[in-house]
Symmetry: C2
């Protein structure tokens, strides 16, 4: 039901109808909507497959973890939104945190700095995914600022940049670009 209509599309009354009970029966079993959502999330979290890095260099392996985290989040958006709604978003990323920590250790990073790198990567993934979801959810005219860039405004801006901003962003390419540059700046050389 959450997969189909999102978290906000799940109602106690619909759930109980699907199960063939009165709405109030669910309250006896679980307590309320919040408890139901948490119970669903518990179930989902228990079934997540382990994360495996691919690649030879540790940079490649770290990149593969981050990329697959993004893919997993994008494919399981309803679950991510559910986790965020009940305030347990970080639990969903725990497996990724572990895999990254292991690989960052192998890359020679440790302590405070390694934690910063790990979290920077995680925040960037999470941020991209949530913004991409905003774009996906919106209508066709969602990319409203494109028109303004195409118009003659912004005289101080170089025209080639203006033209590039008038085209909608390619989220995949933008993510690859950002991740690449960030890894450049954040991993030890070699």
């Amino acid at each position: 039901m959450i997969e189909r209509d999102g978290v906000e599309g799940l109602s106690m009354r619909k759930v109980s109808a699907e199960v063939g009970l009165a709405p109030t029966a669910v309250y006896w079993h679980l307590g309320g909507r919040d408890e139901l959502l948490n119970a669903v999330l518990d179930e989902v979290l228990g079934e997540l497959p382990p994360i495996r890095a691919t690649g030879r260099t540790s940079r490649a392996r770290i990149g593969s973890i981050v990329r697959s985290a993004r893919r997993d989040f994008l494919e399981g958006m309803p679950v991510l939104l559910l986790a965020n709604e009940v305030g347990r978003g970080d639990e969903l990323s725990y497996r990724t945190q572990l895999a990254l920590a292991e690989e960052l250790g192998r890359a020679g990073l440790d302590g405070h700095e390694a934690a910063d790198v790990l979290r920077a990567l995680l925040f960037v993934v999470g941020g991209f995914v949530m913004i991409e979801e905003q774009y996906r959810t919106g209508e066709a005219d969602d990319f409203a600022t494109a028109g303004r860039w195409a118009d003659g405004a912004a005289a101080e801006v170089p025209p080639a940049l203006r033209a590039a901003m008038a085209r909608p962003p390619d989220a995949d390419a933008l993510f690859a670009f950002t991740l690449d540059r960030l890894l450049d700046a954040v991993l030890p050389p070699d």
Copy 2:
């Protein structure tokens, strides 16, 4: 009302009561909830002050724009959530886009690559802000994975990193770290 209770705390019936009319009167004037929200957003967008960069080097100026964008978003979270709800999140960042474009041009970037850099910075800011909001909204036990890091699990991970991950993240420091590294990798030298 949105400032106080968030977008989801605004209801047609409360609004109309505040104004001293029947709920249905609002429908005659505006059309519905969606139109009301868009009208509010229009008003807010019209009153935004211009963005001014500070600093001598173009790197400093770009950094200042990005930092003040984050500050503005964090201070005006209800407005950001409103803009996202009605699918106009990018309009809220248009002033920042303009300021960045101008400054990136001055830094010698143009065209496709400049657009990538601009959007990478924007996505990172937006992503951080939205994730920080998730943390702010949650309960005290929200940082649930801290406990797991403190526990003995994750044997493959260096202990100093494990200890660092057991402490909750400092969003300000993490953002400064991420922005600094990203600017290193993304701006032309000098």
